[in-house]
């Protein structure tokens, strides 16, 4: 009798689990894996191969566009290369080193008020160039104090010249005056964390049209957003944006670059997932761009992005040592 009862309970438990697991998985999928909400992007063209000649790259790590010119951070070659919007080489400046005008692993680029801002990972500084390539000034130095950097990965510039710097190894984002003097920071210096407002190796920053700040919280596999007063508003990337990585829509596997468009949409370089993801400013998933590979329209570790005036998307395809251009629509 007891054995029969035990068997009955066991059968019920197995049946319950068999029903519960698929329901749980479907509910989880619906809750945490969003669907595309806008048309995708189509591949237009690409340029570059591995090398040190004009038009070749050895680790392209940053992109910025001014008018009809595309600026590429060519990290291991220690230089910036400039192309037209179709990929034709125009000029080059910089060279490996520590002096003014020289570059130590340039990373995510930004252009503001006709000046190019270059975070230098090896030299722990932001170097500002005019668009012809003359070095104009240097902001910051190595360290963990206010206004100092430990491997800066990306920079954003406000309309008044205020700087926002992703300070990678210091696990913080700094807000600085145009002259580099310290205003405030988000995150605790030298301490990684997953709480809202804490970071785990932040790689890049971007400002929205309304002055909101978006942070590529690199190894936390998420994006964090702050309003124009600097207050944390929301975060996204996987379940609860709590450092859970994965290949699904709206999830990340190391976030290495972030930009915004004129409508406030946010593009994120999803490095180890070999794709770019696009979101609205509130973090709603819109579409995914690219897939793993080395063919046309495929990426090997996309790391950085830029948009031209027509809304075309340019991607630094790190592993393939090339730049790709994409256009929205079928």
């Amino acid at each position: 009798m007891a054995a029969r009862l035990r068997r009955k309970i066991f059968v019920k438990a197995v049946l319950g689990a068999a029903l519960f697991v698929p329901v749980f998985l479907i509910a989880g999928w619906l809750a945490f894996v969003p669907f595309s909400k806008e048309p995708g992007y189509r591949f237009v063209n690409s340029w570059g191969t591995r090398g040190a000649d004009a038009g070749q790259f050895n680790d392209p790590t940053g992109l910025a566009i001014s008018g009809k010119e595309v600026f590429v951070a060519d990290a291991r070659n220690g230089r910036i290369q400039v192309f037209d919007l179709g990929g034709r080489f125009l000029r080059v400046f910089g060279g490996p080193g520590k002096g003014p005008g020289e570059l130590g692993r340039p990373m995510n680029l930004t252009i503001s008020a006709n000046e190019l801002y270059v975070p230098e990972y090896f030299n722990d500084r932001i170097q500002v160039f005019d668009l012809q390539g003359s070095s104009k000034r240097i902001i910051g130095r190595a360290g963990s104090g206010p206004g100092e950097f430990n491997a800066p990965g990306g920079v954003a510039v406000g309309r008044d010249g205020t700087l926002y710097v992703a300070d990678f190894y210091n696990h913080r984002v700094q807000r600085l005056k145009a002259d580099g003097s310290f205003i405030q920071q988000w995150g605790k210096t030298g301490t990684a964390g997953i709480a809202a407002g804490s970071f785990g190796y932040p790689t890049d920053v971007a400002l929205g049209p309304g002055g909101g700040l978006f942070v590529a919280d690199g190894y936390n596999d998420r994006v964090q957003a702050f309003n124009s007063n600097g207050k944390f508003t929301h975060k996204w990337g996987g379940p609860f944006a709590s450092n859970i990585y994965g290949p699904f829509n709206g999830w990340f596997a190391t976030v290495t670059g972030i930009i915004t468009d004129n409508s406030g949409n946010v593009f994120v370089a999803d490095f180890y997932n070999h794709r770019i993801q696009k979101f609205s400013a509130d973090g709603t998933f819109l579409t995914s761009i690219g897939a793993k590979g080395s063919g046309p329209g495929q990426f090997m570790y996309p790391i950085a992005m830029a948009l031209d005036g027509d809304g075309n998307l340019y991607v630094a395809d790190f592993g393939n040592n090339r730049i790709q251009k994409w256009r929205q629509g079928k």
Partner: protein, 103 residues
């Protein structure tokens, strides 16, 4: 039996010097070391550049070559400089990673 030659001792000195230079070039810079480190997660430049930056700070290191595909880093030192596993381990740890092996 010794045979006197024009140049005498200075000729012998030149011969010795020439032999020393020839030996130097044949043998290469003596005691230069190459270490091969294995570290996980090297594809991202934010990681690999961080490790490279720390390794370049070690005394005597003159070249660091990262091979992303097989996850290894070659560290080359100047003549007469050796690195301990503890030093290499600490440098990799400062960059936020764990050293898997050193050869």
């Amino acid at each position: 039996m010794k045979t006197a030659r024009p140049g005498g001792n200075s000729g012998n000195l030149l011969t010795v010097l020439a032999l020393a230079v020839a030996f130097w070039f044949a043998a290469g810079p003596a005691n230069a070391e190459t270490y091969t480190l294995r570290v996980d997660g090297l594809a991202c430049p934010f990681c690999s550049y961080g490790i490279e930056k720390q390794l370049r700070k070690l005394a005597g290191v003159n070249e660091v070559i990262t091979n992303i595909k097989n996850g290894t880093i070659q560290v080359k030192t100047d003549t007469g400089n050796k690195l301990s596993k503890v030093e290499l381990e600490a440098a990799v740890k400062r960059s936020g990673f764990t050293l898997r092996s050193v050869n």
